[in-house]
Symmetry: C2
DNA sequence: ACCTGAACACCGTTCAAGT
DNA sequence: ACCTGAACACCGTTCAAGT
């Protein structure tokens, strides 16, 4: 929370611009970091010592601001050795970074996940690296995009999961009505103590390894079955 | 959009109650069905021919309303033969239903995914069925909950993905800068024409099969590796 | 008990007015 | 060009007042 450097600034154009896309984005991330804090343009303007209307000079609206944040986050994820490692190895640190990068801003993940990716160059170059590595490693051409999107869905879902209160799935209310779930929960909890990781992170690592292994195997298998759209 | 049966109702208590939790929830789902429509209490009240403040008689606030919707959706998912089929078979139709049930309400998925699951009995009984089946099939006790949560993360992420515009990942802007991604996208698109499914559904089926296969294999493998929390 | 109507403290966005 | 300040059309929530 940056305090206003000059709270009672006079009207009219300042001698030197107090705002910039960079400064606004930085303040926006700082605002999105706080947990329960509602991510509003009013609060953002307040933290910058400025009126809300001033923000519209740099971003057309709230959606464009969030899109800007998303673009900056995507470019932060960066490369993870896709050129030197097999795709199924390089994808692991990439997925980890992706999850913590997006999960680090509780006030905004939902908006980031929901907002249509308006064809960002950053995302495209990110995907291109992965697609190239998978192609090089002989992954079936028509399954490359589905595999990447499936991974992304899991990562986004995991980022959202990491924001829920810790004891989310713990059946406190009626342990006698959910005996198997309760004992499974306890077993998982006991296992957790041997690691330096949260339950959400442990689950993510477990699921990620499983998904990547499954995607790898599917890259060499014959076909995938399932019902038609109209049959659902 | 239900129109008000009596738009200019007089003030004071009506002879017979015009609202109920059931009626409000039904109208809320109808409202959440429309794509771009903002899900507001004002719009909900309007569709019920009632003032916004009247809703607070049945739900403490917007969050409680959404929690009520979530509970109703969860109980709709229901059983899918976990008692008679192996968990890795019964889980497939369960996951499909889960995704379409939550994905059917664009205006609300993000809120559903974000809102902390306040210990709903419906969810707990749902998870109990799965946990019992996995336990019966010899799945390692401490991995049952992580497996379920990983699946749920994938499903939530896929539900969000299914709401984005169709050509989301298609690199329209600079196909020459993303050659591998572009050709992979085209190959996937060609493959898609042979099925009666959307790209999102195809990806979901592919990823689901891979994840379940991976989780199954992890249930018989030795250990899962990964970095510690502090090392991320 | 069940709803209206007014009130409160907010939103995001637009736009004339100042320098 | 860059910001303020007022204005607009909204929000969700509270609460006295009516029947």
């Amino acid at each position: 929370m940056t305090t206003a450097p000059d709270a009672h600034r006079s009207a009219g154009r300042p001698r030197t611009a107090v705002l910039s896309r960079e400064r606004i984005l930085a303040a926006a991330f700082a605002l999105a970091d706080v947990r329960g804090g509602d991510f509003t343009l009013a609060a953002l303007a307040r933290s910058l010592g400025v009126r809300p209307s001033a923000l519209h000079h740099y971003f057309a609206g709230k959606d464009e601001l969030i899109a800007g944040m998303r673009g900056q986050l995507t470019s932060r994820v960066g490369d993870h050795g896709f050129d030197t490692l097999p795709w199924h190895e390089a994808i692991i640190p990439w997925a980890r970074t992706y999850r913590v990068t997006f999960g680090a801003h509780p006030g905004i993940v939902a908006a980031l996940a929901t907002l249509p990716v308006a064809d960002e160059p950053e995302s495209m170059l990110d995907y291109e690296r992965i697609a190239r590595a998978m192609h090089r490693d002989g992954y079936p051409e028509h399954r490359i995009v589905p595999a990447i999107v499936a991974l992304e869905s899991f990562i986004i879902g995991s980022a959202l999961d990491s924001l829920t209160p810790e004891d989310n799935l713990r059946p406190v209310s009626a342990p006698d009505r959910t005996p198997h779930l309760t004992s499974a929960e306890e077993a998982a909890r006991a296992q957790l103590r041997t690691h330096d990781r949260s339950a959400a992170t442990e689950t993510f690592e477990f699921g990620l390894a499983a998904l990547v292994a499954g995607l790898r195997a599917a890259g060499t298998a014959a076909t995938v079955s399932g019902p038609t759209e109209s049959g659902v």
